[in-house]
């Protein structure tokens, strides 16, 4: 085969065969675009619109490169051919790329398990104000989860899902973003809203589905949304938000905004077809979007060993031509730095970035789940103690003299009071008016909905006992 490739006559025939298969000049120029590794501006080779000129140029390239190699005995790089997609060198060795690297992709962290800063750690410095707000919000998130979870157990809420163990991912990522960055969440990222100023009362209003809920009581608890805070409303369907985020990112790019789109999903979400679609689109459309994967080890009862056989999610970035990083998701400083850097690259270079945050889902999937049915209580307890994101960050914050036991207890008692009051008020507040069942299906209710509203109101008049009394008519 090597001999065959060396003959110039067959070379000519090969070139002829491939060149004439190309389509329009723009197609040809796209395939000749040469990108430098690790990002750098793409350089476009100038291409003649004349097919015969292109053929000749290609032949010249090919013959000159093969001529260079006749002087050394190396069998690789014998010839470089233009296939659609770019130049590839040939090799006569049959070699399969291994399914995995020998070493797993290392995980970036700044703090050790005990919250001590690692020597030589690189990170983006965080001011006292930001650090204290980050830690306080992590505590607030955890306490909010505790109290809402208990409320569900008491029958006051129909449903709840906690973010236990993932407080650093929630808060630190939000802290590293700007308020103009648009968020497309899955459902375990209320901390991003919290950071941006969503109040405990606003969370409670949505959970209780009362008339102050921006979602107008239409969805289950934890399906938050806020256009004011640039946080798109949660939908329970997995990974559907990923392609949406890419489109939104493209819009930000077209508008020249100093902002990116950020979307969150879990290890389970990376198995959905929408993950593939979104990643691929993001790369091709050069969209400024951050894909933040909370790899917490579990998709309800499904461990990651049943989810994929790759080295986690981080390695999938390269498959799409997307720059990626693996981070310790329970390390607030590492999360902050990774998201901060990723955001800069995404906006400045118009590219997507994949961040795989390794963490652990300490809580059950939701109040409809009892995870001790499929994993050991010991395992849960270990993660809760040994790798707790709050205690690690607290140690670091305190080591700077920015926090204390007193500050902690003040914060906790304040939050508890606020939460209980928020729930009390939310529970008492009446539900949204019945007309909100029919509004917003379209921008304006069409005839069939106007008719149906009349029928429903008649039914209510005839049988008021069938309907809840806390929904005003």
């Amino acid at each position: 085969m090597a001999q065959h490739l060396k003959s110039s006559k067959s070379t000519f025939l090969n070139v002829l065969r491939h060149s004439l298969a190309f389509g329009s000049p723009s197609h040809a120029s796209r395939h000749l675009r040469q990108k430098l590794p690790h990002g750098g501006p793409p350089s476009i080779k100038k291409v003649s619109p004349n097919p015969l000129t292109r053929l000749c140029n290609t032949m010249v390239d090919t013959l000159s490169s093969s001529h260079e190699d006749t002087n050394n005995e190396s069998f690789t790089n014998i010839q470089v051919m233009d296939f659609p997609g770019g130049k590839v060198s040939f090799t006569p060795e049959i070699h399969f790329i291994s399914e995995s690297n020998e070493e797993r992709v290392p995980c970036y962290r700044v703090l050790d398990d005990n919250g001590q800063q690692l020597p030589n750690s690189q990170f983006v410095p965080v001011s006292k104000e930001i650090a204290v707000k980050m830690y306080s919000d992590m505590v607030t998130l955890q306490m909010m989860d505790n109290i809402f979870y208990e409320a569900q157990r008491q029958g006051r809420l129909s449903f709840y899902a906690t973010a236990y163990g993932e407080e650093a991912i929630n808060i630190a990522s939000a802290a590293a973003l700007s308020p103009d960055d648009v968020i497309f969440p899955q459902y375990r990222e209320p901390g991003v809203l919290l950071w941006r100023g969503f109040t405990l009362q606003e969370f409670a209003n949505q959970c209780f589905g009362n008339k102050s809920d921006y979602g107008k009581g239409r969805q289950m608890p934890v399906h938050y949304g806020s256009n004011k805070l640039n946080y798109f409303t949660v939908s329970a369907t997995i990974a559907t938000q990923l392609p949406n985020a890419v489109g939104a990112a493209y819009s930000l790019k077209m508008d020249g905004k100093d902002a990116c789109a950020v979307t969150f999903f879990g290890d389970g979400g990376s198995s959905e077809g929408d993950f593939h679609a979104a990643m691929n689109f993001a790369a091709v459309m050069e969209a400024p979007v951050l894909f933040i994967c909370r790899n917490n080890g579990w998709a309800i009862s499904t461990p990651t060993s049943d989810q994929f056989r790759s080295d986690g999610v981080v390695v999938k970035g390269r498959a799409y031509g997307i720059r990626s990083i693996r981070v310790d998701g329970n390390d607030a400083l590492a999360m902050y730095s990774a998201v901060h850097e990723a955001r800069e690259m995404a906006i400045r270079e118009h590219r997507p970035i994949l961040i795989e945050a390794l963490t652990y889902r300490v809580g059950h999937h939701s109040t409809s789940d009892d995870s001790t049915r499929y994993r050991s209580a010991d395992e849960i307890e270990w993660w809760n103690k040994a790798r707790n994101p709050l205690s690690r960050f607290r140690t670091w914050v305190e080591s700077n003299g920015w926090w204390s036991d007193e500050a902690e207890s003040d914060l906790r008692s304040r939050i508890k009071k606020e939460m209980l009051e928020a729930i009390r008020v939310a529970e008492k507040t009446e539900k949204p008016n019945l007309n909100h069942m029919f509004s917003d299906v379209y921008d304006v209710p069409p005839l069939n909905l106007r008719e149906q509203e009349l029928l429903v109101r008649q039914a209510i008049k005839s049988h008021p006992q069938d309907y809840p009394s806390d929904v005003p008519l």
Binding site: S301, T302, V471
Partner: protein
Amino acid sequence: MASLLGRFCRKLVVPGSAHGSRMISTTACDSEAVKSLNLYSAINQALHIALETDPRSYVFGEDVGFGGVFRCTTGLAERFGKNRVFNTPLCEQGIVGFGIGLAAMGNRAVVEIQFADYIYPAFDQVKRVFPTLEFDFSTAEFLIRGFNSQIVNEAAKFRYRSGNQFNCGGLTIRAPYGAVGHGGHYHSQSPEAFFCHVPGIKVVIPRSPREAKGLLLSSIRDPNPVVFFEPKWLYRQAVEEVPEHDYMIPLSQAEVIREGNDITLVGWGAQLTVMEQACLDAEKEGISCELIDLKTLLPWDKETVEASVKKTGRLLISHEAPVTGGFGAEISATILERCFLKLEAPVSRVCGLDTPFPLVFEPFYMPTKNKILDAIKSTVNY
């Protein structure tokens, strides 16, 4: 609730209906060993039997390994092994696509979609886009790919497109569907109408534990791909005497579960219990209602419904799914064609509203007993 379902059970034993040939001739409840089971246990039993009786059958889907989020697959992995009962990655198009492949190789693939609300990524596999089609979004077929392609474009057309050289009849897709009281947009949907529009698949919806076991076994063994929707509200709520042996209830045979003369009511799944209550109330006011469980929506048993409407002259259909484009419209149009001169009143549909399934407003959205009762009365008094 249990007593109502018990009545259904005993009804099956009583002979001498005008539709005797249509009545299910299943083994009598009280002559075989039966056990009081809820819906998820009955389904679990059917799955155990299916895997036991066919070594080339498989059960898989998200979280089925530990028993599933509704416990329908409890004990299967332990008993039949992880090669036959397993968790899949979180990907509905993958689950159904993979299932089609297994079925096409002569196996029975009983796949679980965790909630019917999530079935849409798999829809494309139901219907297949022809490979010569360009990327043209003005063509409906490509829109369907965005709307999940495995069920519509693959499963439904597998036998037809190959000239019967291949088929994926061994595929059964199970999914919990329907209102549950607090499910909101994404845990309450009734998507049966989308699938009833796809030639090549069957759509089956059981009303009770006993029915579910027999219908599921029939669906699994039917040589066509079947979409089997299970009313999640009934998983724990419905309890019934279920025979312990292997039995099947035929597909595409509707059942008259309550006889009457003044009006025919047609429904399926959990809605039948609501309709049954309306029938009882109507009876107190002197209206005699005939209630039919359609069971199989595609292909549906037109003959039974037609015979009933020719007797009563009135038809009312009720389903949770939104009224516009719901399956009630198909039943109404067909009966109109076949029974026009016998009809004393327009066909009535008491259904869900044309909105996404709302959380707080669920009680207003649902086709309640009283909405049905009012419709029965206005139809009878037309």
